[in-house]
């Protein structure tokens, strides 16, 4: 094997490897974590976060505008503090609300943001004033059963009269 041929094949090999990596980077994967200089942090307190996970998406009108950075329990008030990294292109007014939603019936949970109408915008580190927690399926079912049972009792007492 001549020197020039080895150089040629090794060069081709390097190009093919780089092309494979480029294919994996551009076509197969995406960057889901935002760069620090392109994001700002917002905080929201929830009574119950259900099954929300770190790296869960934050959506506004269905568009992904950020990711959950960290979740912790506030030891004073016993509420969950959710830190969110928001895309710096999107700003929200101070009376916007955050709620935990589920995509589909059994899908992953995400935070939905409903924008408000205030002139002043949320700055980095600010907290959402209005939040609503995740719906826990067990509580929903038990509430339904209790109301059904109460309704049933009422029916029977009415029948007794």
């Amino acid at each position: 094997m001549k020197r020039g041929m080895i150089d040629f094949w090794v060069g081709l090999f390097a190009v093919a490897g780089a092309a494979a990596l480029l294919f994996l980077a551009l076509k197969v994967s995406s960057q889901s974590t935002l760069a620090v200089n392109q994001s700002y942090e917002l905080v929201a307190n929830f009574d119950n976060i259900g099954g929300l996970k770190v790296r869960a998406p934050i959506k506004s009108a269905g568009v992904v505008v950020g990711r959950v950075n960290a979740i912790e329990l506030d030891p004073q008030r016993y509420v969950a503090r959710v830190h969110m990294a928001m895309d710096a292109r999107y700003q929200y007014s101070r009376d916007s609300s955050a709620e935990i939603l589920t995509s589909g019936l059994l899908g992953e949970q995400y935070i939905g943001i409903t924008p408000g109408a205030d002139d002043k915008m949320l700055k980095s580190g600010d907290t959402f004033k209005i939040t609503s927690s995740a719906i826990v399926l067990e509580q929903l079912i038990s509430r339904f059963l209790f109301s059904k049972a109460e309704g049933g009792n009422k029916d029977s007492t009415e029948a007794g009269k």
Binding site: I6, A16, T33, K53
Partner: protein, 264 residues
């Protein structure tokens, strides 16, 4: 009675101490390679030849295996996913399993059996025919001239080969999923792209394959250098390279996976 006990202990102890001594020698050898690496990186033509030998000649087997592994993954995955009505996430299944695990691991196993065994046999034969001793006589350090370029050639080739394996596997999955089974092309790619994270999945796969490259190359050059200078010794060393590499790759894969993908 005492003799029997002594015999027993020595029979258990001898392989153990031999193994520990060999491991110690391997560590010393690794440091020696690193110390003599600047020469092989400055005279890059030496390493270039080894990249050709270990990398370029392995491309065919890597590409063909990758294609078939991806195609089989798509067929098998479709079988299961279609039962849950989730056949559109076939792309996610194929891409994640290739990028995270199969690309680096199967790529490294193939690399160990294709290139690692060849490196061991080459160095072992050089030792058996006293070429290494002749080099030392001419004041040429065989570690710098023979071993280090082969080591770096393997280390550089491995991540590139693993990336090719993953890319070809995903292409194979695309061929089966979209062209043969008739899944929607748009959802195949977009779901894949939404689920696979570049830093967390692709880069961790590359880091894995770099670790495997170091492990396989080190085992290959070490076994060759350590081989008894006989025909039997070289053949034994070649076998040991493949077996040890396979075990080390799988054990290392477990440790790296536990570090990278725990929890989250």
């Amino acid at each position: 009675m005492v003799n029997v006990l002594v015999n027993l202990f020595s029979r258990i102890g001898a392989p153990l101490t031999r193994g520990i001594v060999k491991l110690g020698f391997a560590c010393r050898f690794f440091i020696a390679i690193l110390r003599h690496s600047p020469v092989s990186l400055v005279r890059f033509r030496l390493t270039m030849r080894e990249i050709w030998f270990a990398g370029v000649l392995s491309v065919l087997i890597i590409v063909v295996s990758g294609l078939f592994v991806g195609m089989v993954l798509a067929l098998q995955g479709y079988e299961t996913l279609v039962r849950f009505g989730a056949s559109s996430s076939l792309g996610v299944l194929v891409a994640l399993s290739l990028v995270r695990e199969l690309g680096p691991v199967v790529g490294a196993l193939l690399f160990a059996s294709r290139a690692g065994s060849a490196i061991t046999a080459e160095i072992g034969l050089m030792k058996a025919t006293e070429q290494l001793a002749a080099m030392e006589m001419m004041a040429v350090n065989p570690v710098a001239r023979v071993v280090a370029p082969r080591f770096w050639g393997g280390v550089i080739s491995m991540p590139l080969l693993a990336a090719m394996f993953s890319a070809m596997g995903i292409f194979g999955g695309y061929l089966i999923g979209v062209q043969l089974l008739g899944l929607d092309e748009g959802s195949f790619w977009s779901q894949m792209q939404a689920a696979v994270d570049f830093r967390l999945d692709v880069m961790n796969g590359v880091i894995k394959s770099a670790f495997f490259g170091v492990a396989v190359s080190l085992i290959a050059v070490f076994e060759g250098y350590d081989a008894p200078p006989t025909a039997e010794g070289v053949s034994g060393a070649t076998t040991r390279t493949v077996v040890t590499s396979a075990l080390v790759i799988l054990a290392l894969d477990f440790v790296l996976t536990a570090f990278m993908f725990r929890g989250v």
